[in-house]
């Protein structure tokens, strides 16, 4: 038996759902097929232990395009993004450095550690903001193909050139330097204090198989400040109900526009006939037909697993095999039965509601990366511990807490392969690290979910467990994402498209990849565009 749709989207990650919602809004009959029994991919909320809701993968939100939130009416579909703030970075000498949201407190806190760095923060934040504002123009736009002479590409190049040149000559030079720099070198140009640098460095290696002193990590830092919450650029928020609330709201919009979702339906292959995608074959042998097939999977998985090598150019297959998608992150989700003690921060201190990190020098981060290079998880891991439930009453009962720990570094493969025992040993390393700063933490654990890149890959299909569906290095960004010649969301055969984080503008819960891809599809179908422009910085 075969069924027919206008379009099939493979994968119900938030980008797949966004893509499908816009195709449905554009008038197509759309089906989303998802291998798991639940939707959301890496933007998901699940109750793995009764009474606690985990954001199993992603845990904070800043990149989600506000214009999409508004356009798909996600608030009515149950989404609320609450600003979340206040990172505290504990140091081994028992002190800490914190990022207060209040300007004056923030200044005085940094000044407590370094007068010069407190004053230098203005310069640092201004320069970073300048780059963020530049990049933000391109998030909800398809990258121009710089080799094409099509009027549309030329117009896009002119747009890009104008924004770029608009910064002024000396800033253009600075920006080009910045894009190729390491976060460590970049921070060294502003700050002298190790603790200050450590605090600002952490977002430069999130999800990245590079160290703070590897070229290219300055951009990753920018990738983490280019989002916003209600126009506050660089701010992060929590989705009430966990990150799954984002996927669920988009799914609500999709259904409202008449789209369908089938879970528990893994796709085995994209069916290609005469150089055209004509549908998908599920693992169970069922075939579903459509003229448009969109893959929400990462580019490597798309082109090496669910497409036959005879259906795509050899060169593309080679590019896909060499796509840099190394896993480097782990995740430990924890259910606590009480608030842990952190002796250096008194109970009731406002920072107790924020996120915690345990890094006092960039050198420690570099050492943690060294372990990864040798195929081991970091013995002294970097942890971002987010206490979401302190802000979100829907995640756990009063007095109970959900704590999300994001960890660098954890390799996709360890010697002899990952086993449950090794996974648990990784989990123990993480808990040991937290207990260095919070002696009673362990006693409060009711349940925990330990995820190495192995679990992340096997559950969500992110190759090697890379959280961004491909590394955010300059060779894999903008018109090079995922590969040169394929940055405009079109695949190698007619009717086949990409819409996941492996495409521009890259990883993170942004909905931008899915939306941009839908815009291109509707364009190819000569249908009116229903995908909004970005409303950044009007």
């Amino acid at each position: 038996m075969t069924t027919r749709y206008d379009a099939i989207v493979i994968g119900a990650g938030h980008n797949g759902l966004t893509n499908a919602a816009y195709l449905a809004k554009g008038g197509l009959d759309v089906l989303v097929v998802e291998k798991n029994d639940y939707i959301g991919g890496a933007a998901v909320s699940r109750e793995l232990h009764e009474g606690w809701i985990y954001s199993n993968c992603s845990y904070v939100c800043s990149l989600l395009r506000q214009s999409i939130h508004r356009d798909l009416d996600l608030t009515r579909h149950g989404l609320m993004i609450v600003p979340y703030a206040g990172t505290t970075n504990f140091s081994r000498n028992g002190d800490y450095i914190a990022e207060y949201t209040d300007q004056a407190m923030r200044y005085r806190e940094v000044r407590r550690h370094s007068l010069r760095d407190a004053d230098a923060m203005v310069r640092y934040e201004t320069d970073l903001m300048r780059y963020a504002k530049l990049i933000r123009h391109f998030l909800l736009r398809t990258p121009a193909d710089p080799t094409s002479f099509k009027p549309r590409d030329l117009a896009e190049l002119v747009f890009m050139g104008k924004k770029f040149a608009g910064m002024g000559a000396e800033q253009v030079y600075e920006f080009i330097r910045f894009m190729t720099m390491s976060a460590g070198d970049f921070l060294d140009e502003y700050f002298e204090n190790e603790l200050v640098k450590a605090l600002f460095s952490t977002s430069s290696i999130i999800g990245t198989a590079l160290g703070v002193y590897s070229p290219g990590t300055a951009y990753v830092l920018l990738h983490h400040v280019m989002g916003d919450v209600d126009g506050a650029v660089g701010a992060w928020g929590l989705a009430r109900g966990g990150m799954g609330a984002i996927s669920n709201a988009i799914a609500g919009a999709l259904r409202e526009h008449g789209g369908e979702i089938r879970t528990g339906a893994p796709v085995q292959q994209i069916i290609v006939r005469n150089g055209r995608a004509v549908g998908v074959a599920l693992d169970n042998g069922e075939e579903i037909r459509a003229d448009i097939v969109v893959s929400n999977l990462d580019p490597k998985r798309t082109f090496t697993v669910i497409m036959d090598r005879n259906d795509i150019p050899a060169d593309l297959r080679k590019k896909a095999e060499h796509f840099k998608i190394r896993g480097s992150s782990g995740k430990v989700n924890i259910a606590l039965t009480g608030a842990p003690d952190f002796p250096s921060l008194p109970a009731g201190h406002p920072l107790r509601h924020g996120s915690f990190q345990f890094l006092d020098t960039m050198e420690r981060m570099e050492r943690a990366y060294d372990d990864w290079k040798h195929g081991r998880w970091s013995e002294d891991p970097f942890i971002e511990m987010t206490q979401s439930s302190m802000w979100d009453p829907t995640l756990a009962a009063p007095g109970h807490y959900f704590v999300s720990c994001f960890i660098q570094y954890c390799p996709a493969a360890v010697q002899g392969g990952w086993t449950p025992a090794k996974r648990d040993a990784f989990g123990k390393t993480v808990i040991d690290q937290i207990c260095n700063y919070s002696p009673n933490f362990r006693d409060l654990i009711a349940h925990m979910e330990v995820r190495t890149p192995y679990e992340i890959e096997h559950e969500i299909g992110l190759t090697e467990g890379n959280i961004f569906q491909g590394e955010l290095t300059i060779d894999q960004l903008m018109f090079n994402r995922p590969f040169p010649g394929y940055s405009q969301y079109r695949g190698p055969v007619k009717g086949m498209y990409l819409c996941g984080s492996g495409t521009h503008p890259g990883g993170g819960v942004s909905s931008a990849c899915g939306a941009n891809s839908a815009r291109e599809i509707l364009r190819d179908l000569r249908r009116p565009n229903v995908v909004p422009e970005d409303d950044v910085d009007e």
Partner: protein, 406 residues
């Protein structure tokens, strides 16, 4: 290897408990701040007004007003390279500045954009104090690159300061026994023994009137306040807050950072910062100096003549042109700039403002689109603006030495 962590108890850590701190005068000023109206300036509580902003404003023009300037940032530059280093950083001639004088200065980026403005005190051959509104230590360290024999210290918290401004200010200081203060010339510095140490007095201020700034160690701050207010009653002394100072400084023709100009170091968008020429500060650019940061760019800009102008404007009617956009025509067809500061001046009886106007238009007609409310209902009017070249308020007494007693 797992890291060695030595836990510390919370009480052993210098937590930042709040963002707003008392100045050394707070025990006194908070008593007079009847409605506890405070703003936050560099992390310190600064009175918005004490009892009546109108009265406080008139004190600077009629008797004398006291403003707590302690939140100002103060930096000490000392050493044999101090003068040369500052000479490269600021736009005026520091080498020629006599000891015990003060000079208003700006400092710029290499592209000639204003980083900040402030007053430079030469307190000795090799010792200076620079006062400015915003923290600048990082920039000063950058500006000192290549100069080894200069030590830069943030002394902001080591000095408390009051501005005493108005026609009776000299008389009051004389009454307090500061002998010879009447001989202090504008921009001159004098020292007097006071409390546990000494009082530094400079004949400077932000009101354009006769006035002084008084600098003491924090432990003598309350004593200074008490003496001024005990003796000052008969001289009509009033504490003054931000609101009245703001009126006085616009009348006097002074600029406020982050109001009339946007410091270059925190400017994200190109063209949203300013050159000193645009701000009407050409008079403090000393191009005879062989070098200062921004010199080449500023010479080129000056020669081109092609730069915006911050103009003093006298605007018809009596509705302050706050937040107004400026046009070249009454129909508001051609937008040419915007207002940065605006108020009704009670002493001059004029509707005054500063407006930043595009290079092409500063010589022509200027119209302000003003919105104002009548019993909640918004009204719009378009008012003609006239350029003014002199400060709106510049009484003779401010320049006289000795000054009159009232």
């Amino acid at each position: 290897m797992s890291p060695m962590v030595r836990l510390r108890a919370s009480r052993d850590i210098a937590h930042i408990h709040r963002g707003i701190m008392p100045t050394p005068f707070h025990s006194r000023s908070s008593r007079l701040n009847l409605n506890q109206q405070w703003s936050q300036w560099n992390g310190f509580a600064s009175a918005v007004y004490y009892a009546d902003p109108q009265l406080e404003y008139f004190a600077t023009r009629n008797t004398c007003g006291v403003f707590d300037t302690s939140p100002m940032r103060k930096y000490r530059f000392a050493g044999s390279d101090a003068a040369a280093m500052l000479d490269r950083m600021v736009t005026r001639d520091v080498m020629a500045q006599p000891v015990d004088t003060v000079a208003y200065n700006v400092w710029c980026t290499d592209t000639g954009k204003v980083v900040d403005d402030g007053t430079l005190f030469r307190l000795g051959a090799e010792e200076f104090m620079l006062c400015c509104a915003d923290p600048g230590y990082d920039w000063f360290c950058l500006a000192a690159v290549g100069f080894d024999a200069v030590a830069i210290t943030d002394i902001s918290e080591d000095l408390a300061a009051l501005a005493l401004q108005g026609p009776t200010s000299c008389a009051l200081l004389k009454a307090l026994g500061f002998a010879g203060i009447d001989q202090c010339k504008p921009f001159q510095v004098m020292r007097f023994p006071f409390g546990s140490g000494r009082l530094l007095v400079s004949r400077t201020g932000y009101t354009g009137d006769l006035g002084y700034e008084l600098w003491v160690q924090p432990q003598d701050a309350e004593l200074l306040w008490d003496e001024l207010f005990t003796r000052g009653g008969v001289y009509g002394i009033q504490p003054m807050g931000d609101e009245s100072l703001e009126m006085a400084r616009v009348e006097a023709g002074f600029l406020a950072p982050d109001v009339d100009f946007h410091g270059s170091l925190h400017t994200v968008e190109r063209g949203h910062d300013h050159s000193p020429l645009e701000l009407g500060l050409g008079w403090i650019l000393n191009f005879r100096k062989q070098h200062f940061s921004g010199r080449a760019a500023l010479i080129a800009q000056k020669e081109s003549g092609n730069y915006r102008r911050l103009l003093k404007l006298d605007i018809e009617g009596n509705k302050p042109a706050q937040h107004s956009i400026l046009y070249a025509d009454r129909k508001c067809a051609t937008e040419i700039g915007y207002i940065t500061s605006a108020l009704w001046s009670p002493v001059v009886k004029a509707n005054i403002a500063y407006g930043l106007v595009e290079a092409k238009y500063f010589g022509g007609q200027i119209w302000a689109e003003i919105y104002h409310q009548k019993e909640l209902r918004w009204q719009r009017k378009v008012a003609r603006c006239t350029r003014v070249t002199k400060p709106f308020w510049a009484p003779e007494r401010a320049k006289l030495t000795p000054p009159p007693d009232c």
